[in-house]
Symmetry: C2
Subunit: 211 residues, 2 copies
DNA sequence: TTTGTAAATAATCAACAAAGTATTCAGTCT
DNA sequence: AGACTGAATACTTTGTTGATTATTTACAAA
Protein backbone atom coordinates (compact mmCIF):
# COMPACT_ATOMS: atom_id res chain seq x y z
CA UNK A 1 0.00 0.00 0.00
CA UNK A 2 2.65 2.51 1.01
CA UNK A 3 4.73 3.69 -1.94
CA UNK A 4 7.81 3.61 0.25
CA UNK A 5 8.50 7.27 -0.31
CA UNK A 6 9.46 9.55 2.58
CA UNK A 7 6.07 11.18 2.53
CA UNK A 8 4.39 7.83 2.94
CA UNK A 9 6.69 6.88 5.78
CA UNK A 10 5.60 10.01 7.58
CA UNK A 11 1.93 9.25 7.00
CA UNK A 12 2.38 5.72 8.28
CA UNK A 13 4.19 6.82 11.41
CA UNK A 14 1.59 9.49 12.11
CA UNK A 15 -1.22 7.03 11.53
CA UNK A 16 0.21 4.74 14.21
CA UNK A 17 0.72 7.55 16.70
CA UNK A 18 -2.64 9.21 16.08
CA UNK A 19 -4.60 6.00 16.42
CA UNK A 20 -2.61 5.02 19.50
CA UNK A 21 -2.46 8.23 21.47
CA UNK A 22 -4.73 10.64 19.63
CA UNK A 23 -3.99 13.66 17.49
CA UNK A 24 -3.51 16.12 20.34
CA UNK A 25 -1.17 13.89 22.30
CA UNK A 26 1.32 13.16 19.55
CA UNK A 27 3.99 15.69 18.77
CA UNK A 28 5.72 16.41 15.54
CA UNK A 29 8.97 15.49 17.27
CA UNK A 30 7.65 12.00 17.98
CA UNK A 31 6.55 11.47 14.42
CA UNK A 32 9.94 12.67 13.26
CA UNK A 33 11.95 10.32 15.47
CA UNK A 34 9.68 7.44 14.44
CA UNK A 35 10.78 8.20 10.90
CA UNK A 36 14.40 8.62 11.92
CA UNK A 37 14.51 12.27 11.02
CA UNK A 38 14.39 15.70 12.60
CA UNK A 39 11.16 17.61 13.23
CA UNK A 40 12.07 20.32 10.79
CA UNK A 41 12.28 17.88 7.94
CA UNK A 42 8.61 17.02 8.22
CA UNK A 43 7.84 20.46 6.88
CA UNK A 44 9.53 19.64 3.62
CA UNK A 45 6.66 17.23 3.02
CA UNK A 46 3.68 18.76 4.81
CA UNK A 47 2.76 22.37 5.49
CA UNK A 48 1.76 21.47 9.04
CA UNK A 49 0.57 18.86 11.47
CA UNK A 50 -3.06 19.10 10.47
CA UNK A 51 -2.12 18.40 6.88
CA UNK A 52 -0.72 15.05 7.93
CA UNK A 53 -4.05 14.26 9.55
CA UNK A 54 -5.77 15.40 6.40
CA UNK A 55 -3.62 13.09 4.32
CA UNK A 56 -4.58 10.15 6.52
CA UNK A 57 -8.24 11.08 6.41
CA UNK A 58 -8.32 11.54 2.67
CA UNK A 59 -6.48 8.27 2.09
CA UNK A 60 -9.16 6.51 4.11
CA UNK A 61 -11.87 8.51 2.43
CA UNK A 62 -10.76 7.63 -1.09
CA UNK A 63 -11.28 3.97 -0.29
CA UNK A 64 -14.74 4.74 0.98
CA UNK A 65 -15.52 6.73 -2.14
CA UNK A 66 -14.70 3.80 -4.39
CA UNK A 67 -17.05 1.61 -2.41
CA UNK A 68 -19.75 4.25 -2.43
CA UNK A 69 -19.49 4.52 -6.20
CA UNK A 70 -19.89 0.77 -6.49
CA UNK A 71 -23.06 0.92 -4.44
CA UNK A 72 -24.38 3.86 -6.45
CA UNK A 73 -23.93 2.02 -9.73
CA UNK A 74 -24.79 -1.48 -8.57
CA UNK A 75 -26.53 -3.57 -11.21
CA UNK A 76 -29.83 -5.29 -10.49
CA UNK A 77 -31.28 -2.47 -8.41
CA UNK A 78 -33.28 0.55 -9.41
CA UNK A 79 -32.14 4.09 -8.68
CA UNK A 80 -34.32 4.35 -5.65
CA UNK A 81 -32.74 1.34 -3.98
CA UNK A 82 -29.26 2.37 -4.98
CA UNK A 83 -29.78 5.76 -3.41
CA UNK A 84 -31.14 4.17 -0.29
CA UNK A 85 -28.23 1.75 -0.06
CA UNK A 86 -25.77 4.55 -0.63
CA UNK A 87 -27.08 6.80 2.10
CA UNK A 88 -27.43 3.95 4.55
CA UNK A 89 -23.88 2.85 3.86
CA UNK A 90 -22.57 6.35 4.51
CA UNK A 91 -24.53 6.67 7.72
CA UNK A 92 -23.34 3.34 9.04
CA UNK A 93 -19.76 3.92 8.01
CA UNK A 94 -19.35 7.27 9.72
CA UNK A 95 -21.36 6.21 12.72
CA UNK A 96 -19.21 3.17 13.37
CA UNK A 97 -16.00 4.99 12.60
CA UNK A 98 -16.74 7.75 15.09
CA UNK A 99 -18.30 5.42 17.61
CA UNK A 100 -15.43 2.99 17.78
CA UNK A 101 -12.76 5.25 19.14
CA UNK A 102 -12.71 8.85 20.32
CA UNK A 103 -9.37 9.37 18.60
CA UNK A 104 -10.93 9.31 15.16
CA UNK A 105 -13.64 11.62 16.36
CA UNK A 106 -11.00 14.00 17.70
CA UNK A 107 -9.29 14.12 14.32
CA UNK A 108 -12.58 14.52 12.53
CA UNK A 109 -13.73 17.44 14.64
CA UNK A 110 -10.30 19.05 14.38
CA UNK A 111 -10.30 18.85 10.60
CA UNK A 112 -13.94 19.84 10.37
CA UNK A 113 -13.29 22.89 12.47
CA UNK A 114 -10.11 24.21 10.89
CA UNK A 115 -10.52 22.92 7.35
CA UNK A 116 -14.04 23.54 6.15
CA UNK A 117 -12.69 23.22 2.63
CA UNK A 118 -11.92 19.58 3.28
CA UNK A 119 -15.51 18.97 4.27
CA UNK A 120 -16.64 20.77 1.15
CA UNK A 121 -14.39 18.59 -0.92
CA UNK A 122 -15.97 15.47 0.55
CA UNK A 123 -19.45 16.82 -0.01
CA UNK A 124 -18.59 17.68 -3.60
CA UNK A 125 -17.32 14.15 -4.14
CA UNK A 126 -20.50 12.69 -2.79
CA UNK A 127 -22.55 14.97 -5.00
CA UNK A 128 -20.58 13.69 -7.96
CA UNK A 129 -21.56 10.17 -7.05
CA UNK A 130 -25.19 11.18 -6.70
CA UNK A 131 -25.05 12.71 -10.15
CA UNK A 132 -23.46 9.56 -11.52
CA UNK A 133 -26.22 7.54 -9.91
CA UNK A 134 -28.83 9.63 -11.68
CA UNK A 135 -27.00 9.52 -15.00
CA UNK A 136 -26.75 5.77 -14.74
CA UNK A 137 -30.48 5.63 -14.05
CA UNK A 138 -31.12 7.72 -17.14
CA UNK A 139 -28.91 5.43 -19.19
CA UNK A 140 -30.85 2.42 -17.98
CA UNK A 141 -34.09 4.09 -18.91
CA UNK A 142 -35.28 4.42 -15.34
CA UNK A 143 -37.46 7.28 -14.26
CA UNK A 144 -35.46 10.11 -12.83
CA UNK A 145 -36.53 13.48 -11.52
CA UNK A 146 -36.51 16.41 -13.91
CA UNK A 147 -34.13 19.33 -13.57
CA UNK A 148 -30.43 19.93 -13.08
CA UNK A 149 -28.87 16.81 -11.59
CA UNK A 150 -26.13 18.66 -9.73
CA UNK A 151 -28.76 20.76 -8.04
CA UNK A 152 -30.89 17.79 -7.12
CA UNK A 153 -27.82 16.16 -5.58
CA UNK A 154 -27.32 19.28 -3.50
CA UNK A 155 -30.87 19.12 -2.24
CA UNK A 156 -30.57 15.46 -1.35
CA UNK A 157 -27.52 16.38 0.69
CA UNK A 158 -29.39 19.18 2.43
CA UNK A 159 -32.24 16.90 3.38
CA UNK A 160 -29.92 14.20 4.71
CA UNK A 161 -27.45 16.51 6.43
CA UNK A 162 -28.42 15.17 9.79
CA UNK A 163 -27.21 11.70 8.90
CA UNK A 164 -23.88 12.62 7.45
CA UNK A 165 -21.91 13.41 10.63
CA UNK A 166 -24.27 11.87 13.14
CA UNK A 167 -22.61 12.32 16.46
CA UNK A 168 -21.38 15.81 15.72
CA UNK A 169 -24.76 17.28 16.59
CA UNK A 170 -27.32 14.68 17.45
CA UNK A 171 -26.61 12.07 20.06
CA UNK A 172 -29.08 9.57 18.66
CA UNK A 173 -28.50 5.84 18.51
CA UNK A 174 -27.75 4.21 15.19
CA UNK A 175 -31.13 2.46 15.24
CA UNK A 176 -32.96 5.75 15.66
CA UNK A 177 -30.89 7.40 12.97
CA UNK A 178 -31.60 4.57 10.55
CA UNK A 179 -35.28 4.79 11.27
CA UNK A 180 -35.23 8.51 10.58
CA UNK A 181 -33.18 8.23 7.42
CA UNK A 182 -35.61 5.63 6.18
CA UNK A 183 -38.47 7.98 6.91
CA UNK A 184 -36.83 10.91 5.16
CA UNK A 185 -36.20 8.79 2.09
CA UNK A 186 -39.81 7.72 2.06
CA UNK A 187 -40.82 11.35 2.25
CA UNK A 188 -38.68 12.12 -0.76
CA UNK A 189 -39.89 9.13 -2.70
CA UNK A 190 -43.57 9.17 -2.03
CA UNK A 191 -44.49 10.79 1.23
CA UNK A 192 -45.87 14.16 0.30
CA UNK A 193 -46.85 13.04 -3.17
CA UNK A 194 -50.06 11.17 -2.52
CA UNK A 195 -50.73 9.95 -6.07
CA UNK A 196 -47.90 7.44 -6.05
CA UNK A 197 -49.81 5.50 -3.47
CA UNK A 198 -49.17 2.55 -1.23
CA UNK A 199 -47.75 0.25 -3.88
CA UNK A 200 -44.27 1.34 -2.98
CA UNK A 201 -44.37 0.18 0.59
CA UNK A 202 -43.92 -3.46 -0.33
CA UNK A 203 -40.85 -3.01 -2.49
CA UNK A 204 -39.25 -0.74 0.04
CA UNK A 205 -39.39 -3.36 2.72
CA UNK A 206 -38.04 -5.98 0.34
CA UNK A 207 -35.03 -3.98 -0.78
CA UNK A 208 -34.28 -2.91 2.75
CA UNK A 209 -34.10 -6.50 3.90
CA UNK A 210 -31.60 -7.23 1.13
CA UNK A 211 -29.44 -4.24 2.02
CA UNK B 1 -47.90 42.42 29.47
CA UNK B 2 -46.15 41.74 32.75
CA UNK B 3 -48.48 40.31 35.37
CA UNK B 4 -46.80 42.50 37.98
CA UNK B 5 -45.84 39.55 40.11
CA UNK B 6 -42.35 39.27 41.59
CA UNK B 7 -41.42 36.56 39.16
CA UNK B 8 -42.31 38.78 36.24
CA UNK B 9 -40.35 41.66 37.67
CA UNK B 10 -37.30 39.42 37.75
CA UNK B 11 -37.83 38.33 34.16
CA UNK B 12 -38.21 41.92 33.04
CA UNK B 13 -35.07 43.05 34.82
CA UNK B 14 -33.10 40.11 33.45
CA UNK B 15 -34.42 40.76 29.95
CA UNK B 16 -33.07 44.32 30.07
CA UNK B 17 -29.71 43.26 31.42
CA UNK B 18 -29.28 40.30 29.08
CA UNK B 19 -30.15 42.27 25.98
CA UNK B 20 -27.93 45.14 27.08
CA UNK B 21 -24.81 43.40 28.32
CA UNK B 22 -25.29 39.77 27.38
CA UNK B 23 -26.02 36.70 29.46
CA UNK B 24 -22.47 36.09 30.61
CA UNK B 25 -21.83 39.67 31.64
CA UNK B 26 -24.81 40.14 33.91
CA UNK B 27 -24.67 38.83 37.44
CA UNK B 28 -27.43 37.57 39.63
CA UNK B 29 -26.55 40.36 42.07
CA UNK B 30 -27.26 42.96 39.40
CA UNK B 31 -30.61 41.47 38.53
CA UNK B 32 -31.43 41.36 42.21
CA UNK B 33 -30.59 45.00 42.90
CA UNK B 34 -32.54 46.01 39.80
CA UNK B 35 -35.51 44.35 41.45
CA UNK B 36 -34.68 45.86 44.83
CA UNK B 37 -34.00 42.56 46.49
CA UNK B 38 -31.10 40.38 47.56
CA UNK B 39 -29.48 37.80 45.26
CA UNK B 40 -30.60 34.92 47.42
CA UNK B 41 -34.21 35.80 46.94
CA UNK B 42 -34.02 35.16 43.20
CA UNK B 43 -33.68 31.51 44.01
CA UNK B 44 -37.10 31.47 45.55
CA UNK B 45 -38.47 32.03 42.04
CA UNK B 46 -35.99 30.36 39.75
CA UNK B 47 -33.78 27.33 40.27
CA UNK B 48 -30.87 29.13 38.66
CA UNK B 49 -29.64 31.80 36.30
CA UNK B 50 -30.16 29.73 33.18
CA UNK B 51 -33.77 29.20 34.13
CA UNK B 52 -34.36 32.93 33.95
CA UNK B 53 -32.94 32.91 30.45
CA UNK B 54 -35.18 29.97 29.64
CA UNK B 55 -38.21 31.87 30.89
CA UNK B 56 -37.36 34.78 28.63
CA UNK B 57 -36.77 32.50 25.67
CA UNK B 58 -39.97 30.55 26.15
CA UNK B 59 -42.01 33.74 26.56
CA UNK B 60 -40.69 34.92 23.24
CA UNK B 61 -41.15 31.49 21.74
CA UNK B 62 -44.80 31.22 22.75
CA UNK B 63 -45.54 34.33 20.72
CA UNK B 64 -43.78 32.80 17.76
CA UNK B 65 -45.73 29.59 18.16
CA UNK B 66 -49.04 31.40 17.95
CA UNK B 67 -47.95 33.04 14.73
CA UNK B 68 -46.66 29.77 13.33
CA UNK B 69 -50.00 28.14 14.05
CA UNK B 70 -51.77 30.93 12.21
CA UNK B 71 -49.59 30.31 9.18
CA UNK B 72 -50.11 26.57 9.37
CA UNK B 73 -53.88 26.93 9.38
CA UNK B 74 -54.19 29.91 7.06
CA UNK B 75 -57.33 29.82 4.92
CA UNK B 76 -57.15 30.17 1.16
CA UNK B 77 -53.98 28.15 0.73
CA UNK B 78 -53.45 24.47 0.19
CA UNK B 79 -51.41 22.33 2.58
CA UNK B 80 -48.37 22.53 0.39
CA UNK B 81 -48.24 26.32 0.48
CA UNK B 82 -48.99 26.43 4.17
CA UNK B 83 -46.12 24.06 4.91
CA UNK B 84 -43.82 26.09 2.72
CA UNK B 85 -44.86 29.34 4.38
CA UNK B 86 -44.41 27.80 7.79
CA UNK B 87 -40.90 26.53 7.23
CA UNK B 88 -39.81 29.72 5.51
CA UNK B 89 -41.19 31.78 8.37
CA UNK B 90 -39.26 29.72 10.91
CA UNK B 91 -36.07 29.94 8.91
CA UNK B 92 -36.33 33.71 8.52
CA UNK B 93 -37.32 34.27 12.12
CA UNK B 94 -34.43 32.39 13.68
CA UNK B 95 -31.99 33.68 11.11
CA UNK B 96 -32.81 37.30 11.76
CA UNK B 97 -33.03 36.82 15.48
CA UNK B 98 -29.58 35.29 15.68
CA UNK B 99 -28.11 37.59 13.08
CA UNK B 100 -29.22 40.82 14.68
CA UNK B 101 -27.28 40.65 17.92
CA UNK B 102 -24.73 38.24 19.31
CA UNK B 103 -26.35 38.46 22.74
CA UNK B 104 -29.36 36.46 21.63
CA UNK B 105 -27.09 33.96 19.97
CA UNK B 106 -25.11 33.66 23.20
CA UNK B 107 -28.26 32.84 25.14
CA UNK B 108 -29.45 30.46 22.47
CA UNK B 109 -26.23 28.48 22.38
CA UNK B 110 -26.07 28.44 26.18
CA UNK B 111 -29.58 27.05 26.47
CA UNK B 112 -29.12 24.68 23.58
CA UNK B 113 -25.99 23.30 25.16
CA UNK B 114 -27.12 22.85 28.76
CA UNK B 115 -30.82 22.28 28.24
CA UNK B 116 -31.37 19.85 25.40
CA UNK B 117 -34.79 19.22 26.90
CA UNK B 118 -35.79 22.77 26.04
CA UNK B 119 -34.86 22.22 22.41
CA UNK B 120 -36.84 19.01 22.44
CA UNK B 121 -39.82 20.86 23.83
CA UNK B 122 -39.64 23.35 20.99
CA UNK B 123 -39.30 20.61 18.42
CA UNK B 124 -42.29 18.81 19.91
CA UNK B 125 -44.35 21.97 19.71
CA UNK B 126 -43.46 22.43 16.08
CA UNK B 127 -44.37 18.83 15.35
CA UNK B 128 -47.75 19.46 16.94
CA UNK B 129 -48.28 22.31 14.52
CA UNK B 130 -47.25 20.17 11.60
CA UNK B 131 -49.77 17.55 12.69
CA UNK B 132 -52.45 20.22 13.01
CA UNK B 133 -51.58 21.39 9.52
CA UNK B 134 -52.13 17.90 8.17
CA UNK B 135 -55.33 17.38 10.11
CA UNK B 136 -56.64 20.66 8.79
CA UNK B 137 -55.77 19.53 5.29
CA UNK B 138 -57.67 16.31 5.85
CA UNK B 139 -60.64 18.24 7.14
CA UNK B 140 -60.63 20.40 4.05
CA UNK B 141 -60.51 17.34 1.85
CA UNK B 142 -57.03 18.06 0.53
CA UNK B 143 -54.66 15.32 -0.49
CA UNK B 144 -52.42 14.34 2.38
CA UNK B 145 -49.78 11.66 2.69
CA UNK B 146 -50.76 8.31 4.15
CA UNK B 147 -49.42 7.04 7.47
CA UNK B 148 -49.03 8.26 11.01
CA UNK B 149 -49.06 12.07 11.02
CA UNK B 150 -46.85 12.42 14.07
CA UNK B 151 -44.24 10.31 12.35
CA UNK B 152 -44.45 12.26 9.13
CA UNK B 153 -43.98 15.45 11.11
CA UNK B 154 -40.85 13.98 12.62
CA UNK B 155 -39.48 13.16 9.20
CA UNK B 156 -40.20 16.63 7.90
CA UNK B 157 -38.22 17.95 10.82
CA UNK B 158 -35.34 15.60 10.08
CA UNK B 159 -35.19 16.69 6.47
CA UNK B 160 -35.27 20.37 7.34
CA UNK B 161 -32.96 20.20 10.35
CA UNK B 162 -30.36 22.27 8.57
CA UNK B 163 -32.71 25.23 8.35
CA UNK B 164 -33.90 25.27 11.92
CA UNK B 165 -30.86 26.70 13.72
CA UNK B 166 -29.03 28.03 10.68
CA UNK B 167 -25.95 29.69 12.02
CA UNK B 168 -25.30 27.06 14.64
CA UNK B 169 -23.62 24.83 12.09
CA UNK B 170 -23.72 26.24 8.62
CA UNK B 171 -22.50 29.72 7.92
CA UNK B 172 -24.57 30.17 4.80
CA UNK B 173 -26.30 33.39 3.84
CA UNK B 174 -30.04 33.66 4.21
CA UNK B 175 -30.44 33.75 0.44
CA UNK B 176 -28.57 30.48 0.04
CA UNK B 177 -30.50 28.88 2.88
CA UNK B 178 -33.79 29.92 1.34
CA UNK B 179 -32.76 28.53 -2.01
CA UNK B 180 -31.86 25.23 -0.40
CA UNK B 181 -35.02 25.02 1.68
CA UNK B 182 -37.01 25.65 -1.45
CA UNK B 183 -35.16 22.85 -3.18
CA UNK B 184 -35.69 20.41 -0.34
CA UNK B 185 -39.39 21.19 -0.28
CA UNK B 186 -39.59 20.57 -4.00
CA UNK B 187 -37.85 17.26 -3.47
CA UNK B 188 -40.44 16.28 -0.90
CA UNK B 189 -43.35 17.47 -2.97
CA UNK B 190 -42.48 16.18 -6.39
CA UNK B 191 -38.76 15.84 -7.01
CA UNK B 192 -38.06 12.15 -6.69
CA UNK B 193 -41.59 11.11 -7.42
CA UNK B 194 -42.24 11.32 -11.16
CA UNK B 195 -45.77 10.96 -12.45
CA UNK B 196 -48.04 8.43 -10.85
CA UNK B 197 -48.25 6.30 -13.98
CA UNK B 198 -44.51 6.11 -14.32
CA UNK B 199 -44.07 5.28 -10.66
CA UNK B 200 -46.26 2.22 -11.02
CA UNK B 201 -44.25 0.91 -13.93
CA UNK B 202 -41.02 1.51 -12.08
CA UNK B 203 -42.31 -0.49 -9.15
CA UNK B 204 -42.89 -3.44 -11.42
CA UNK B 205 -39.35 -3.27 -12.77
CA UNK B 206 -37.83 -2.96 -9.32
CA UNK B 207 -39.53 -5.99 -7.86
CA UNK B 208 -38.48 -7.97 -10.89
CA UNK B 209 -34.85 -6.97 -10.45
CA UNK B 210 -34.74 -7.66 -6.72
CA UNK B 211 -36.22 -11.12 -7.18
C1' DT C 1 -46.12 30.73 57.65
C1' DT C 2 -44.35 33.58 54.02
C1' DT C 3 -40.96 36.76 52.32
C1' DG C 4 -36.91 38.10 52.57
C1' DT C 5 -31.79 38.92 53.93
C1' DA C 6 -26.87 38.44 54.10
C1' DA C 7 -23.08 35.80 55.22
C1' DA C 8 -20.89 31.26 53.80
C1' DT C 9 -19.71 28.01 50.28
C1' DA C 10 -18.53 26.34 45.96
C1' DA C 11 -17.98 26.73 41.41
C1' DT C 12 -16.26 29.40 37.61
C1' DC C 13 -13.43 32.91 35.49
C1' DA C 14 -9.37 35.96 34.47
C1' DA C 15 -4.71 36.83 34.65
C1' DC C 16 -0.39 35.41 34.25
C1' DA C 17 3.68 32.49 34.54
C1' DA C 18 5.72 28.12 33.09
C1' DA C 19 5.99 24.29 29.90
C1' DG C 20 5.45 22.32 25.96
C1' DT C 21 5.06 22.20 20.99
C1' DA C 22 4.49 23.64 16.20
C1' DT C 23 6.97 26.00 12.92
C1' DT C 24 10.98 28.44 10.98
C1' DC C 25 15.56 29.12 9.50
C1' DA C 26 20.52 29.51 9.42
C1' DG C 27 23.59 26.41 8.50
C1' DT C 28 25.77 21.31 7.72
C1' DC C 29 26.44 17.40 5.07
C1' DT C 30 26.32 14.70 0.70
C1' DA D 1 22.17 22.07 -5.53
C1' DG D 2 19.14 19.16 -2.58
C1' DA D 3 18.27 16.72 1.73
C1' DC D 4 18.47 17.33 6.22
C1' DT D 5 19.55 19.06 11.08
C1' DG D 6 18.87 21.28 15.49
C1' DA D 7 18.67 25.42 17.73
C1' DA D 8 15.67 29.69 17.82
C1' DT D 9 11.11 31.61 17.61
C1' DA D 10 6.38 32.06 18.28
C1' DC D 11 2.34 30.14 19.39
C1' DT D 12 -0.59 27.21 22.39
C1' DT D 13 -1.54 24.62 26.25
C1' DT D 14 -1.24 23.92 31.26
C1' DG D 15 -1.09 25.06 35.84
C1' DT D 16 -1.71 28.31 39.53
C1' DT D 17 -3.51 31.96 41.98
C1' DG D 18 -6.77 35.40 43.28
C1' DA D 19 -10.94 37.34 42.32
C1' DT D 20 -15.88 36.99 40.74
C1' DT D 21 -20.01 35.09 40.94
C1' DA D 22 -23.65 31.47 41.28
C1' DT D 23 -25.85 29.01 44.76
C1' DT D 24 -26.94 27.55 49.61
C1' DT D 25 -28.28 28.22 54.11
C1' DA D 26 -28.92 29.95 58.66
C1' DC D 27 -31.48 33.42 60.34
C1' DA D 28 -34.73 37.76 60.63
C1' DA D 29 -38.97 40.49 59.68
C1' DA D 30 -43.86 40.65 58.15
Amino acid sequence: MSKDTVRDKIVEAAKKRFSHFGYGKTTMAEIATDCGMSPGNLYRFFPGKLDIAEAIASEDYEAHLAQARKIALAPGKDARDRLRDLLFAELRRTYHKLEKDPRVLEMATQIGHERPQFINWMLANERTILVELMEEAEKRGEMIPPGDKEEIAEMIQSATMKFRYPQLWSKLSLAKLERELDGVLNLMFQGLCPHAGAAREETRKASHAVA
